[in-house]
């Protein structure tokens, strides 16, 4: 008789890997509630002896972390709104409307897809310095107001919509704007959600560009603030982990709530991006 495991052998692979992926994050949260004495011992303890808030208290009093959090929220919200408005209108324009120069304009957008931020950061910095928005929050969100990827995404979605509904609306006397606003956009909700999540992930997690564009402490985003704080205080682990919790918790909570939508976004940015 063949000997059999009482459970699927896949568990033997998945359980350790799943723990490997999630335990560091668990340790991050738990460490943010530890005292320095608890952290600086070997072997390391996973659980704090009691809920120490000293890490959070020190972070909030010694750094403008709340300000950074506010800045990050502002930058992300403006970026998401910008993307939703500009990319959905442009996507609709390229998918449905006929106008002189449409082909050229779309070609320009296609051509920009491969250009990486590393190439753009020097001239963009100089450009922003010239119009005087370097070192303001605008510098952080202006590059995120629209993207070639977002325009593609929306265009693909509109191309796949049956055109009959819009034709019916036009015959009923709806103008282009009204048709777009009250017929097409409500249908585009799934694509808009994907676009919003994509923009939120990219703008909230962005480090290189805001690091370059902003040097005033009070205008840092959370990622920049933490990265620079870590450069100065390499050993204040409870504060650093508290900051890490602030920087990751909003997206992780959003992910846990809307996991399907996030995964659909990742898949889409992969297969169509």
């Amino acid at each position: 008789m063949r000997w059999r495991l009482p459970f699927s052998p896949w568990h033997l692979l998945l359980m350790p890997l799943a723990l490997l992926f999630v335990l560091p994050l668990v340790q991050m949260v738990l460490t943010s509630f530890m005292s320095s004495a608890e952290i600086n011992q070997f072997p390391p303890q996973l659980l704090p002896t009691s809920l120490h808030l000293s890490g959070y208290r020190a972070l909030l009093t010694e750094t403008p972390a709340l300000r950074w959090l506010f800045n990050s929220v502002l930058v992300s919200v403006v970026s998401v709104i910008g993307h939703l408005i500009l990319c959905s209108t442009a996507g609709y324009g390229f998918a449905r409307l006929k106008f002189a120069g449409r082909g050229v304009a779309f070609l320009v957008i296609v051509a920009t897809v491969m250009i990486p931020i590393q190439l753009l950061m020097i001239p963009t910095y100089l450009m922003f310095a010239r119009i005087g928005i370097v070192d303001t929050l605008a510098a952080a969100f202006v590059p995120w107001l629209a993207s070639a990827f977002g325009i593609f995404l929306m265009r693909q979605f509109f191309l796949a919509l049956p055109v009959e509904l819009e034709e019916a609306a036009l015959i009923d006397g709806c103008g282009t704007w009204r048709t777009f606003w009250s017929i097409v956009l409500p249908l585009a909700r799934p694509a808009l959600a994907t676009l919003a999540i994509f923009t939120l992930l990219s703008s909230w997690n962005d480090l290189l560009w805001p690091l370059v564009a902003i040097s005033d402490d009070n205008r840092f985003t959370l990622q920049v603030g933490l990265a620079n704080f870590q450069g100065m205080r390499r050993t204040e682990w409870s504060q650093l982990m508290a900051g890490n919790v602030l920087a990751t918790a909003p997206l992780i909570v959003a992910f846990l709530i809307a996991q399907r939508k996030f995964i659909a976004t990742m898949t889409f940015s992969g297969l169509k991006g």
Partner: protein, 309 residues
């Protein structure tokens, strides 16, 4: 009579038609114009400008002096640039195959219909949502040589404590591991979607013909995944070539420059030492190499018979 009527009606129609097409153009540009202007103004224009900057010696303040191709010539013999290029290529050569292999393995595992599968999926995807900056800071803690969890695990396995990020010979490999931890969720999601797209009849037909699980995987599943693999290879190559956030929050290029990547070097050149022209030249070189590598991957994928691009 009929002819005059037709002619005059055409004469009437023309301004109206022109007005209508002007209106159509206006509406079209009102929809597409703002985003197009923004994308062109923030990437096409700066990309062209970057090329002119790369042919100058400039600190951003004093007037620039044109030096032609001198910056590019210097890059070819700059030991720091060569070291950065070596680190970046090594990182790419490790990261891309590993993330593809792990992505396929995890996707196949997560595609099983077993208990706890939802929990496993959540666990494996969650690090992808965490920012690279936070991941880097967290890694500094986990791999801390004095009290980090990584050394604790090694101690349990009977292996002596390591220096990890503080060792010039280990730091780059540790960073590659951290990058995998943060990015593998992405390739896994892509492969999981691709696995679910494989027609079920194909697998069932092979089963009927007596193929075992392994042979189905080897001869049906893997070939079906090939187009996706070309895509993930391109995407992960770009990710690895542009690695910056993790370096900035773990080693800042150290110890002894052992983890200095090209992007980190560009950042230092342009924004720490204000050598804008030289930095722009390095950025263009990186862009060109990334572009060529991408074409190479696509060409290789095509030759193996998959057309995705």
């Amino acid at each position: 009579m009929a002819v005059t009527f037709a002619a005059s009606s055409r004469a009437f129609a023309q301004p109206a038609r022109r007005r209508r097409s002007a209106r159509r153009n206006l509406t079209g540009w009102a929809f597409a114009g703002p985003a197009t202007a923004l994308v062109a103004g923030l990437s096409l224009f700066p990309a062209v400008w970057a090329f002119f900057i790369s042919r100058a010696k400039w600190n951003g303040i004093a007037p620039a002096t044109q030096v032609g191709w001198a910056n590019y010539q210097r890059l070819a013999t700059d030991p720091d640039m060569l070291a950065a290029a070596r680190h970046t290529l090594l990182l790419t050569a490790l990261f891309v195959p590993a993330s593809i292999f792990l992505g396929i393995l995890l996707a196949v595992a997560l595609n099983q219909k077993i208990r706890l599968i939802g929990f496993y999926r959540t666990c494996i995807f969650v690090p992808y949502v965490a920012s690279a900056a936070a991941t880097g800071i967290l890694a500094g803690f986990v791999f801390n040589p004095q009290f980090g969890a990584a050394n604790d695990v090694l101690r349990h396995l009977g292996i002596p404590a390591q220096q990890f990020l503080e060792s010039p010979s280990q730091a780059l490999y540790v960073i590659c591991l951290i990058a995998l931890w943060g990015e593998v969720g992405f390739t896994t999601v892509i492969y999981l979607a691709a696995l679910q797209d494989i027609p079920r009849d194909l697998v069932e037909a092979a089963r009927m013909d007596g193929a075992g699980k392994w042979r189905v995987f080897r001869h049906i599943t893997l070939p079906e995944l090939r187009p996706v693999t070309v895509f993930t290879a391109v995407w992960q190559t770009i990710t690895a070539m542009q690695l910056f956030d993790l370096i900035y929050t773990t080693t800042r290029g150290g110890p002894l420059n052992s983890t200095q990547t090209v992007v980190y070097y560009i950042y230092e050149l342009a924004f720490q030492t204000q050598r804008l022209g030289y930095g722009a030249a390095a950025a263009y070189l990186l862009f060109a190499v990334t572009f060529l590598l991408t074409l190479l991957v696509i060409w290789y994928g095509r030759r193996r018979g998959s057309e995705v691009f």
